[in-house]
Every structure is written in C-alpha cells, then in structure tokens.
C-alpha cells in the first residue's frame, strides 16, 4: 500500500474554477518525486490537500489508509509542507525558536524538543545559527530554516513547493545537498517545481500536471521529452545532468 493515496481528487473554488479534476496519484515510502507543471496547473492546490489544509470537493486523500480530511492533525504530524514563501512560514524570533515551533505544538517535552531542534539544524547545515534572527539570514538560509522547522517535527513525507524560487546557485546547491541527505536517510520527498534543470537528476519519479489533471507519471527518463508539450521547459542534455548540486 502506498504511503499517500489520492483517488478521484477534485477541487473546485467557490467561483466555479476547477483547480483539480479527478486526480489519482500514489506516493510510496522512500520515494523522491518531482511534480512539474506550468503555472496554474494545480500543483500547489494538490500540495494543500496532502496535510488537510484544503478539503476535497470530491474524491479522497489517504495517509497510510486513513482519510486526511477526517484527521488533518495526524496528517500534519506526518506530512511536512515547505511553502514557496519562506518568510510566511518563519514565526520564531530566533532560528532555534523557529525550529522549535512545530515540536512545541506536538507538546513534546523540552529535552526532546532540544534534541530535535539540534538534529534539524544539523541536517540543514544551520548549526551555529541558533541565536540568529531569521530575517538576517540569506534567502538560501531562510529556505533551509523552513526545512529545519518541518524536519524538527520528524515527518515521514517532506513536500516542498517551488523551493528554488529566488535562490542563487549556492542557495540551491546547499538545499539540494540537504534534500539528498534526507532522501538517503529514508525521508519521502515530493518536490513541486517547473524548474527541472536544478533537481530532476535526483528524482526517482516525475509526475506532470496540466489544467488540474495528471498528464504523465513515470521515470524522469521516460517523460523528459514530453514536458515541453505541457508548458515546462525541457533542459538540454540527459536527465543525469539536470542538477545544480555542487561537484
């Protein structure tokens, strides 16, 4: 059984616009999936369904066989979302306090919170930044802090929405290093982007969306030549070269 199962998911906005239409998708444990599509294809709306921030108009989303909308709190403990706008996600006055926000909401004991914060900051390369004020961090460091804030909750699935937006090459490279490490440690990753050149070489699976529907689902090598017909630029060269990691 897949870790996350989406069956017949439809999302219609109050004005009648259909954002998602009859979406079927499975996310398996330990997978690194890239979800790509042009602007307005429904990627972000789909992400909001994964931990119960949006309610389906029709269809269902299940985590380990249990309905996400029926128990969103359970889903939020296990599916961590990293939003496109890092500033909106940072709520703490220092790096360490922000990373502690999620574990505090889980009502964990202080010692366990400290352990998790330390581990999350280590995993994201932010050790030594504990007492820094988040707004003094660079764009890349802020993005890694948002990942740390989610990692401190020890989720099984990490979902990132356009994580490379506004980042320079070092910022992207550092983030890719963090994602590689997490994936190697067994974290399931779903990364939403239309910027395949930076990350596709690291993915096990590529899913393509257009106008609220899944248009392709397979390995990156199988689908790479189809992406341009769906409004996503096909980077030149083989899939193995599509990475902005440090060499």
């Amino acid at each position: 059984m897949a870790l996350l199962e989406i069956r017949g998911l439809t999302h219609t906005f109050p004005d009648g616009t259909t954002a998602l239409e009859n979406v079927d998708l499975d996310l398996n444990s330990g997978e690194f999936m890239v979800l790509a599509g042009a602007n307005g294809s429904g990627k972000t709306v789909l992400m909001r369904h994964l931990n119960g921030l949006a309610r389906p108009t029709a269809g269902e989303v299940r985590l380990d066989g249990r309905s996400v909308p029926a128990d969103p709190v359970r889903a939020r403990r296990r599916v961590g979302l990293v939003f496109q706008d890092a500033d909106a996600q940072i709520v703490g006055q220092t790096v360490a306090r922000d990373a502690a926000f999620g574990p505090e909401n889980l009502k964990l004991p202080r010692d366990e919170i400290r352990r998790r914060v330390r581990a999350a900051l280590e995993a994201t390369g932010l050790v030594g930044f504990d007492e820094r004020r988040p707004h003094t961090l660079s764009g890349g460091e802020k993005r890694r802090l948002t990942v740390a804030g989610v990692l401190a909750m020890e989720p099984e699935v990490l979902v990132l929405d356009e994580p490379f937006t506004g980042l320079d090459w070092p910022g992207c490279a550092d983030l890719i290093t963090v994602l590689d490490r997490l994936h190697a440690a067994g974290t399931t990753i779903l990364l939403i982007t239309h910027d395949l050149v930076k990350i596709l070489a690291h993915a096990d699976r590529l899913v393509l969306m257009e106008q609220g529907r899944i248009r392709g689902d397979g390995t990156p090598e199988e689908l790479i030549d189809a992406v341009e017909s769906l409004g996503v630029r096909r980077p030149p060269g083989p899939v193995s070269g599509m990475s902005w990691r440090r060499r």
Binding site: R48, R76, D85, A88, V91, L106, P109
Partner: protein, 253 residues
Amino acid sequence: MREAAFLHYRPGRGFWHRHDPRLKLLELAVWSVLALAGGWPVLGTLLAVLLPLHGISGSRVSRMRRPLVFWLAMAGVIIIAAGLTESDPPLTVAGWESPFGRPGLASGLLRSGRLFTVLLAAQLLAATTDPADLAGAVRRITRWGALATALSLTLAFIPRLFDEALIVRDAAFSRGLGQRRSVFRRATALGMPLAEAALRRADLTTEALLSRAYVDDPTPPEMRIGARDILLTAAGLLPPLAVAVLARLAIPG
C-alpha cells in the same frame, strides 16, 4: 526585512532578557498604574528606574526616535487641549494674556509625561521578551491560549507589515505617486494595496501555522522564578511604590 524599533523584541542574553516574563508583566502593570495615577515625584522615580534599565538591557531608547516624534505630537495636542479647557488663571507672557490656563497646561504636561512613561515601560518589556515567552507567560497567568497567541503573533509580525508597507510605497512611488500632492489620493493608492498585502500575508501565515500542527496550548516555555528575579522585581517596584506612598501621605487631609 526592515528592523522594527518600537515594541519589538531584540534577542539578547542580558539579565533583563533572562528575567522571568511573568514578573515582567507584573512590573509593567504596576509601573503603568503608578504612572497613570501618580504625580511628578512618582513619574520622576519611574524614569529613574526605567531609563537605566533600558540602558543596561541594551534595548536602546535611541531606537524610539519615531515613536518619540509621535509622542511629541500627541503631547503637544494634549497640552494645548488641556490648556484651553482649564483656562483660569490664564498664562500671561510679557503682559499678553494667552488663551491657555496655567493649571491646564500643567495637567497636560503631566498627562504627556504619564503617556511617555507607559511607553517606556512597554518598550522595555517588548524589547527584552521573546513574544513566544510572553505568550507562555500570558497562558500561565490567564489560561487564555488564543489571547496569548494573538499577542505573540501581533508582536512578531510588526516588522513584516513594515516590509509590506515599504514594498507597496516603493512600487507606488516608482510609478509616479510622489508627484501627486493629494493626501486622499496617496492614502487610497497606498492603503488599499497594503491592506490586501497584509490580508494575503495573514492567510499564508495561517496556513503555515496550521501545517506545523498549531495548537493553542503548546509545550510551555521553561520558566523558573529565582532569587535574582525577586531581587530585580523588588529593585524595579519598591522605589516608585515607596515614593507613591510617601506622596499620598504628604497630601494634607
């Protein structure tokens, strides 16, 4: 992000930063009551306590320039209004009898001083207390989790609203708004986009909080009232309280 100077936390490890936030709330309450009810001797004592505390805690009164300008404007209005209200006996300057009464001007000055003292006390608390700790203290004292969260988030997002305001203003000015002199035009051109941006930011933040399993009663911050905290509270409260009592005793009848 833009630095917010007033009523905003600045991380630090000084002794006032480490002072128990519940006692800081108590001190703010007592200082405010004394400031609002006391006369000049009490205000003077409060300033003698608060100004050194600002200096030692690193909260820097100099960062309050903008709020001080606002306070000066308010003080001017308060003094003029009080002077006009209580006009007998009038203030006479070089033989010219002004429309302002001396008792009115004196009471206006006292009210402005009270406002300034309360602002100083509030700034000391806000600049040295992490909003999360403040929320934890409010939760422990009142058990009102939602109130504590609202307080904490409001303080935390003041700089973000400043940022939004700056972006909206720069965007409007880059498109020629600065050449228009109409205040109404400026207010609508800046106000509406800023309100929309603030609401959008609030939406995003709400979703981000929910996605991190937000609850009203998270793990409370570590708080322990020690001997040092008691000493600090005593040092902060006893002098103005003593002056207030003495001033009360000195009033005949």
